[in-house]
Amino acid sequence: MATELDAGWAIDWLRRCAAVIAGHRTELIELDRAIGDGDHGENLDRGFRAVTAKLDTDVPDTPGAAFKLAAMTLMSKVGGAAGPLYGTAFLRAATAAGDAPALDAPALAAALAAGRDGVVARGKAETGDKTMIDAWTPAVEAAAAAADRGATPAELLGEAATAAEAGAVATDPMVARKGRASYLGERSAGHRDPGAASSALILRAAAEAAAAVEPGGSPAGGPSA
């Protein structure tokens, strides 16, 4: 297993995001239709398709540069609440990653934490408000614990994704206090938050891209679109 993840991994991650979001587009629309306005799957799909289109002409050479490309593209193509929030997450992660050609486990944990902090700074949501934060915060915590323990990047991301998935499931009974679902009051309980669900998908894609990396450091060949 690689001890560092480079730009190849980051690019592979973003391409996997596009694939997994396209595959879950309808499901995310349905989740958002229940407690929001039904556009989350469409918006993210449009955004990540734009990211892969951008990657076809523009090849970032550091993870930070890849995150920045994703941030700018999501910010200008997604719109809605998710566009600026995911955009900020990737932008802050890019800043945390800096110019490093590759990220080790502690750097990955720090990038995830910076991304989460960016979402909180923009959206002011707290844990339990039934937002994407409820997926991100357990993921950040799991990543920190894994890094402390000396886990590999792939292990770290796998544990973060698992925590995000559990966090997304945990939003089901919550009453929303932020975003469009908050207008529903008590009626928002009993539905999964779409942003938490998409966050879990995105983090799982990161883990899968890491798992696909050959010891040498580049991906073993993930989906390319």
Binding site: I35, D37, A81, G83, L85, R177, G185
Partner: protein, 333 residues
């Protein structure tokens, strides 16, 4: 889903193109990034007024670009806030050096995207004030929500602030009157049937044949509660009551009564609602000094309506009556 559309993903682009063709005397369209701006640039020194938000609320916002109202409008995807790369050039197009006011409906997405664009505009030397519209009494404004939504009041704010800018008010004054109108208007809506977002293809919520959704917004999001179908008078009373509680009108207070169609409701029904609302306001001792009835801020083909009541002062009346010449609202010129 049956709609007069071609590709569901092209609806906004094609619709705005058609809009630009039909109103080429009044507006110009930037295709990419997408925004609409006045054909005749406003005179130097006029405060710029920009609004925008998800599409699907037509004629809002592009229909209000023109003399005495907006300088530019930024349509997002259907029910999805536009992005900073659209809002920024629209803001620059609206700027004549006196600053720009962003009228932003209070939805997380709109607020965040307009905030980013304002920062970018400020970095380019354009002063921007953001005024948030949050007139919807259906949503409690508390720590436990994203705050009240911006709905029907948006149209009134854009008209009145637009007239103030046209009159020559400075940046702070235009932002202040927009804020004052926002603080004086309350709105509540009802849906009899949901709308269908083109890319979703199914109605945004399901209502049985004998159910209506009270306190509905303008994005096809469900309302605050669901009740059994009632008479128009009964529904009107339900919508007005929380509005009147919040506005707490003094006897003899002058108001503007705005009955707005959500897109799929016949005008004749809006007048039935207007009739009852006017009765109730008269009984409450208010004086309906100005009226607006029609489809001015819609949710695609949603069936239903909203009622807005604006507590008027003399300046608002003068600004409401001032000439306006836009595709969707025109008088005095």
């Amino acid at each position: 889903m049956k709609k007069l559309i071609n590709d569901p993903r092209a609806v906004v682009d094609e619709s705005v193109q058609g809009f630009g063709l039909a109103h080429a005397d009044l507006v110009s369209v930037s295709a990419d990034p997408l925004f609409v701006f006045r054909r005749e640039p406003a005179r130097q020194g006029k405060v710029g007024l920009v609004s925008g938000g998800g599409s699907g609320h037509e004629p809002l916002h592009a229909g209000y670009v023109g003399l005495g109202m907006l300088d530019a409008a930024v349509p997002g995807a259907v029910f999805t806030s536009p992005t900073p790369d659209q809002i920024l050039p629209a803001t620059l197009a609206a700027s004549t050096g006196a600053g720009v006011v962003h009228i932003v409906k209070n939805y997380t997405g709109d607020v965040l995207n307009f905030e980013t664009a304002a920062e970018l505009a400020q970095a380019e030397g354009v002063e921007v004030r953001q005024v948030l519209v949050n007139d919807d009494v259906a949503v409690e404004d508390s720590l436990y929500t994203a705050g009240r939504r911006g709905v029907g009041g948006t149209v009134l704010i854009e008209k009145i602030a637009g007239a103030a800018a046209e009159r020559g008010d400075d940046l702070d004054a235009v932002a202040a009157i927009a804020q004052r109108v926002n603080d004086s208007v309350r709105t509540m809506g009802v849906a009899l049937a949901a709308c269908t977002v083109p890319h979703a293809g199914v109605p945004s919520f399901e209502l049985a044949e004998d159910e209506i959704e009270i306190g509905v917004g303008i994005h096809g999001e469900p309302g605050r509660h669901r009740i059994a179908m009632e008479s128009a008078d009964g529904i009107t009373d339900r919508l007005l009551q929380p509005i009147l509680t919040e506005l707490d009108l003094a006897a003899g207070a002058q108001v503007l009564l705005f009955v707005n169609g959500m897109g799929g409701t016949p005008l004749s029904e809006l007048y039935i609602v207007y009739r009852r609302a006017a009765q109730v306001l008269a009984e409450a001792g208010a004086q309906v000094a100005r009226s607006l009835v029609g489809n001015y801020i819609t949710a695609l083909e949603m069936q239903g309506c909203s009622i807005s009541v604006l507590r008027l002062d003399a300046d608002m009346v003068e600004l409401w009556d001032a000439p306006v010449h836009t595709p969707a609202l025109r008088w005095g010129v």
